[in-house]
């Protein structure tokens, strides 16, 4: 979490533009060969047409108005409409190609990053907040692909236009051209400076804005606490200070961009002024025609647009540097748990498993002198050894942070031991693929996680080819069918995002049905502490008993009933097994387990009595 916070700060600074990173990103643009070629062509065409318009006017002025005749106007009109039509198609194609590149770039980056996210180990997820990843995947990728694609086509257009205009002016009258072009260097420098400043101020505004959103969120979520603490006035004081800062920063950002355009326009008009003055004199002495003068005036009037666009792209690159680094960083994150090439050769990888080569799992699990630490020098498990027979039920009890979840995560190979081995069916699990183990594993979380979709989709999650009959049997076995059929559309009821339309208890039951259907040999349960009503509690306990039957299981247990019925209870304290045995054996020790049991007994019993009263209601 703190990692994330530090990384976020990078967004406040202007980082140096790292060409290497942009080159890599630009490869995504170039992979759209057809669109790129079309863009180049289209942009040249549009820029040339843009340059041609003043020349057309010049021709009209000098040849028709100047000579006082309309002879030859018909081909002229035709050519004009050809240009306009070409321009219309050109503009369409310009936008369409840029859009195609933008969408393909974001598609490709997201696709690649998503694959990476499916392979990254849990140590990565422990350190990285989901919100952080979402921001990278959604807004950063969006911003980069927009900048890369539109920046690319704008760059093409602006540079073609600038070069083309210069050539046109130099060809028309090189002396006048050189004079009028004097304004370009200051125009470029000033544009770049302003664009950078404007982006900086806009960033400050965005940052303040996210603080305002945070303040509203807090104000609304903490409304009751604020009332009970009588903090209304103080909170409002703090908030109005923040919204005052926001106003100030926004006005400042607006003022900077408001100054920018006039200055650019002013510089541009100096160019026009020079053209008018010098060109006017030239017309009077007959050195150039009226048409040339008019073309010069038009060119100088339109010059600032492409120049400031070029400056804008440069400034944007700099300001998007942090986004670029984060996204590339995500794609480049090294994998901590990898299957060796030989293993992949035989068992396949995560996306292309070779199931035909998989040996069936019997469910024998052994920890052999396993050490494990999340951070160097800090041992969570030390010299941990444990042998579990196929079909044995193990309950793990102990305080938060004692190492129970670590043991479970090691069994699942969500982590690998720092030293020592974990054997499944007598062989080190690193000799087989991750998917081989995980596909033979059932896992139910403390807070059950469902995916949006129907109830049926969720039950078949682990075995997509299950028949209707099997699905129903699984649901019946954990007695979930009763509530499922009560739903409006039965098995086809949508559960909502994260299963939001179901209660916690219902979600639990569905996640049990999901495991039953997948029929794993090894089962892991991280039991919930959250309370559900007595009736559902009863159902869940029955479901647990059914799931456990005949499976090797590891349970991070909280309910007395689950603990009591385990074949073996392990008390884990400080990364070691301090007590182990059956319920009775451990009670007799009158140690940690005894205390835990008696406290828990009182809590559960009083809870049950009170719930009974609530149900009578």
């Amino acid at each position: 979490m703190s990692n994330t916070a530090i990384e976020e700060q990078d967004y406040d600074r202007d980082l140096k533009v790292d060409i290497g990173i942009w080159k890599r990103l630009f490869r995504y643009v170039l992979s759209n060969k057809r669109a790129c070629v079309l863009s180049v062509v289209t942009n040249m065409v549009i820029a040339l047409i843009d340059i041609a318009y003043p020349l057309m006017s010049r021709y009209a002025i000098d040849n028709f108005i100047g000579k006082g005749t309309t002879q030859g106007i018909l081909p002229f009109i035709l050519l004009y409409f050809v240009l306009i039509t070409a321009q219309a198609f050109g503009v369409y194609s310009f936008v369409a190609q840029a859009g195609r590149i933008e969408m393909n770039v974001s598609f490709d980056i997201r696709q690649q990053a998503f694959k990476k996210l499916q392979e990254l180990s849990f140590s990565f997820y422990d350190k990285t907040a989901v919100g952080y990843l979402m921001a990278r995947m959604v807004s950063d990728v969006g911003r980069l692909s927009e900048l890369l694609s539109w920046g690319f086509v704008d760059l093409l257009w602006a540079s073609t236009y600038v070069v083309g205009v210069m050539i046109a002016m130099l060809l028309l009258n090189w002396k006048l051209a050189l004079l009028a072009l004097v304004v370009i260097p200051p125009l470029a420098v000033i544009s770049l400076y302003f664009k950078k400043r404007i982006l900086q101020y806009q960033r400050k505004v965005r940052k303040t804005n996210s603080r305002i959103t945070g303040a509203f969120n807090e104000g609304i979520m903490g409304a009751v606490t604020t009332k009970t603490l009588v903090r209304e006035k103080a909170n409002y004081g703090e908030f109005s200070e923040l919204s005052g800062t926001m106003r100030q920063a926004s006005v400042k950002a607006a003022v900077w961009s408001a100054i920018f355009m006039p200055i650019v326009m002013f510089l541009g008009s100096i160019g026009t002024g020079i053209a008018l003055y010098k060109g006017g004199v030239d017309v009077m002495i007959g050195a150039i025609g009226f048409g040339t003068l008019s073309a010069f005036v038009s060119y100088t009037m339109n010059f600032f647009e492409p120049i400031q666009q070029l400056a804008g792209i440069l400034a944007e690159l700099q300001s998007a540097q942090a986004s670029a680094e984060r996204v590339i960083g995500l794609i480049d994150t090294p994998l901590e748990i990898v299957d060796s090439p030989e293993v992949v050769e035989k068992y396949g990888d995560n996306f292309h498993p070779k199931r035909e080569n998989w040996e069936p799992i019997t469910g024998e699990v052994e920890f052999e002198h396993v050490d494990f630490s999340y951070k160097e020098g800090e041992c969570v498990l030390c010299d941990f050894s444990l042998h579990v027979k196929p079909g044995e039920n193990i309950a793990l009890v102990g305080e938060t942070g004692a190492g129970k979840s670590t043991i479970v995560n090691l069994v699942c190979r969500f982590y690998e031991p720092t030293s020592g081995r974990v054997l499944i069916d007598g062989r080190d699990y690193r000799e087989r693929s991750q998917l081989w183990l995980q596909a033979g594993l059932g896992y139910v979380l403390q807070t059950p996680h469902l995916f949006s979709g129907t109830i049926r989709d969720n039950i078949v999650y682990g075995r997509k080819d299950a028949t209707e009959q099997e699905i129903r049997e699984a649901a019946q076995m954990v007695r979930a069918e009763e509530f499922i059929l009560r739903q409006e559309r039965g098995y086809d009821t949508e559960v909502g995002e994260g299963g939001a339309r179901l209660s916690t208890g219902e979600k639990q039951l569905i996640s049990f049905a999901r495991v039953i259907l997948a029929n794993p040999r090894i089962f892991v349960l991280d039991e919930a502490t959250s309370s559900v009503d007595t009736e559902t509690e009863q159902l869940i306990q029955e479901a647990i008993t059914k799931v456990l039957r005949g499976r090797t299981s590891f349970i991070v247990a909280h309910r007395l009933s689950t603990i009591r019925s385990a074949d073996r209870i392990l008390v884990i304290r400080g990364g070691r097994i301090t007590e182990q045995g059956t319920h009775r054996e451990l009670l007799k020790l009158r140690g940690y387990y005894y205390n835990l049991y008696t406290t828990q007994f009182r809590e559960e019993a009083s809870g049950a009595i009170l719930d009974e009263k609530a149900i009578e209601n």
């Binding site: 057309m56 006017s57 009209a60 028709f64 409409f81 503009v91 369409y92 840029a98 859009g99 969408m103 598609f107 997201r110 996210l117 499916q118 849990f122 979402m134 959604v138 959103t213 509203f216 969120n217 807090e218 979520m221 409304a223 606490t225 009332k227 009970t228 603490l229 009588v230 209304e232 909170n235 409002y236 109005s240 926001m246 106003r247 006005v251 607006a254 003022v255 408001a258 355009m261 006039p262 326009m265 002013f266 002024g273 008018l276 003055y277 009077m284 008019s294 699942c412 969500f414 995980q438 996680h449 995916f451 994260g498 319920h583 007994f601 019993a605 009595i609 009170l610 609530a614 209601n617």
Partner: protein
């Protein structure tokens, strides 16, 4: 559904808009004035070019107004200008300067006005959301409210900042251009504007059409995000079932859908820009060609043709933006309506005389009834008394009304019948802020502000010394925990900081409440996530500290209950038993059953251990 909802807000509430403007209205006026100056100055540029070409360089008559010509004559007329052509160039640059400065002022003033407006909206919303009754928050959705306070406010602000002046600018430009062009040549003017209405209508129709595609693209993006979010939060399930491949397929489908829909939207935009460019340039071409024809006939001068073409080019852009402006006006109106809906909720009121009597801690409930609606009583006919310094424990099942009872005392709700007296004064006659600051409460799921632990504990007493804060934390048995964090008391908690466990949060909230030094304190099941030993330690420390503090504790831990001076047993909103531990165990009822759990435990243990021994 969405449409029907939006229709509700289709009218702008001018009274609200006006009151939110609060002193910023004049900036809009300034901005409009600056805009007018800028438009006039912008139009002068082409006139100068035309004047230079026709009058100075050429030898046509000038069509500038008489007073300008008089000034030109005074300078020395055509001859002077021909010799000093730089004067014309300088005039061009100066008008650009005026235009630039006025444009700058227009944008600056409108920024001041719109940001001021937005600030006033935000402040008012924030203030109001704190002032509405508790009941409103209980039923409102946080996400929806936050969205109204942020994106809706921003939609209105953006409209004011960008589009309001855009509308005015279009109107000014079109009328100024009409005035100048028509004064030059009526037929030519009509021909020069013949396609502009087409362009306006086209843009309007187009933005209506594109709205649907926008929605589709937005939805696809939302789907993409939520699929991704689900995958990331459910990463353990995905791995445990080995479903990486099917997840990738699901994501790919969403990613493709978003790409295709957005690409379609962008192509629609391409079509819009392409075709409106076509119409715009055709208009310019028509103007140019007609101008050429007229010039050849001698009806117009070269300079005048240049004026027409430049003006038409200047007009096409704002006209083709018209559709967008109107679409945004619709959005802004809806957003303002959604903000208004919040502001229309009545604030919490003072039902009585709002006095500030001395509070010692004597409390009496006299026949108190309460219900959220008229038909369903949550509490009925509750009567009891508590003397200063007494500890009152409340026991009851879920939904029996325990929490409502203490909330009534805090006046988060008002009694529907009966009265609550604090030191003999009806709480409805005590100012609510005063009352609440004399009653400390710790909720079951406490809320911590997103700031340091130190600031959270000391939040009601910003002047508190570090020692006071540490002392409070020690009583709440959380001092050691806090010191265990890397940054100690300076650790930031809440949304943007370290996540505390439920028990840790409860203890920090207890420390915070202790800082209030209130004569009455309430624990609303606020040690449920704390283990029994710590619970006992906290209660012992509290007992030493409080001398005359009246304490309410909601709990079902018998060790907590039996220490109380008085125990209230609630069932279905009725006070069924009250008395001391000794009195209540002597009687049949809920309390006795809870109290007997200890016996049940001993029986259970005897059975387990005894059976083992017997084997």
């Amino acid at each position: 559904m969405q449409d029907r909802k939006e229709k509700k807000y289709r009218k702008i509430n001018w009274k609200l808009a006006g009151s939110l403007m609060k002193g910023n209205g004049r900036y809009i006026l300034f901005s409009a004035l600056a805009l007018a100056v800028a438009v006039v100055a912008a139009y002068c540029g082409p006139l100068i070019v035309s004047f230079t070409v026709d009058y100075v360089i050429g030898d046509k008559a000038s069509n500038l107004p008489a007073f300008v010509m008089r000034a030109v004559e005074n300078l020395g007329g055509r001859e002077f200008l021909r010799g000093n052509l730089w004067v014309c160039a300088a005039a061009l640059v100066s008008f650009t300067l005026v235009n630039g400065y006025a444009t700058y002022l227009r944008r600056r003033y409108i920024a001041v006005a719109s940001e001021g407006f937005a600030m006033e909206m935000r402040n008012r919303l924030y203030h109001h959301l704190q002032a509405v009754p508790y009941d409103y928050h209980k039923h409102a959705s946080t996400g929806d409210l936050v969205q109204r306070c942020t994106s809706d406010v921003d939609t209105v602000r953006r409209f004011m900042a960008n589009q309001l002046m855009e509308i005015l600018r279009t109107v000014f430009m079109v009328s100024a251009a009409c005035y100048i062009m028509f004064s030059l040549d009526v037929t030519m003017s009509l021909i020069s504007m013949v396609l502009l209405p087409v362009l306006g209508v086209f843009s309007f129709v187009y933005f209506g059409m594109v709205k649907e595609q926008f929605r589709l693209s937005d939805e696809a993006e939302g789907k993409l995000s939520s699929t991704l979010q689900e995958n990331l939060t459910g990463v353990r399930v995905v791995r445990a079932f080995g479903q990486e491949k099917s997840e990738l397929d699901k994501f790919t489908a969403c990613n493709e859908d978003f790409r295709n829909k957005t690409y379609k939207l962008i192509r629609l935009f391409g079509g819009y820009f392409g075709s409106s460019d076509f119409v715009g340039y055709t208009q310019i071409a028509i103007t140019l060609l007609t101008g050429v024809a007229f010039a050849v006939k001698g009806r117009l001068t070269l300079g005048e043709v240049m004026v027409f073409t430049t003006y038409v080019a200047m007009l096409t852009w704002p006209v083709r933006q018209l559709g967008r402006v109107l679409a945004d006006l619709g959005k802004a109106t809806v957003s303002l309506g959604r903000v208004e809906e919040i502001l229309a909720v009545p604030e919490e009121t003072e039902p009585g005389t709002a006095g500030r009597p001395v509070i010692k801690g004597e409390i009496e409930f006299r026949g108190v009834c309460f219900g959220y609606d008229a038909y369903d009583d949550v509490l009925s006919d509750i009567s009891f008394t508590a003397k200063p310094g007494q500890t009152i424990a409340i026991l009851g099942s879920t939904g029996s009304g325990k929490t409502s009872l203490v909330q009534l005392l805090q006046r988060l709700y008002l009694c529907t019948a009966g009265e609550i007296l604090v030191d003999g004064v009806n709480i409805n006659d005590i100012e609510r802020g005063y009352l609440r600051s004399h009653i400390g409460i710790v909720l079951q799921e406490p809320f911590l502000y997103s700031r340091t632990i130190k600031d959270n504990i000391g939040i009601v007493r910003p002047d508190a010394m570090a020692e006071d804060i540490h002392a409070a934390a020690k009583i709440a048995s959380v001092h050691e925990v806090i010191n265990g964090f890397e940054a100690g008391y300076d650790t930031i908690v809440g949304e943007r900081g370290v996540t505390l466990s439920g028990g840790q949060k409860q203890r920090v909230a207890i420390a915070r409440m202790l800082m209030q030094n209130a004569p009455i304190i309430i624990f609303d099941d606020s040690m449920s996530a704390v283990d029994t030993e710590t619970d006992a330690a906290i209660r012992n420390a509290l007992r030493e500290r409080r001398v005359n503090t009246t304490t309410f504790i909601i709990s079902h831990r018998i060790t907590t209950l039996c220490e109380a001076d008085k125990i209230l047993v609630l069932e279905h909103g009725r006070l069924v038993q009250q008395g001391t531990h000794a009195e209540l165990v002597a009687r049949e009822g809920l309390y006795r059953r809870i109290a007997r759990i200890q016996n049940a435990l001993e029986e259970d243990l005897a059975k387990e251990l005894g059976a083992q021994g017997g084997e």
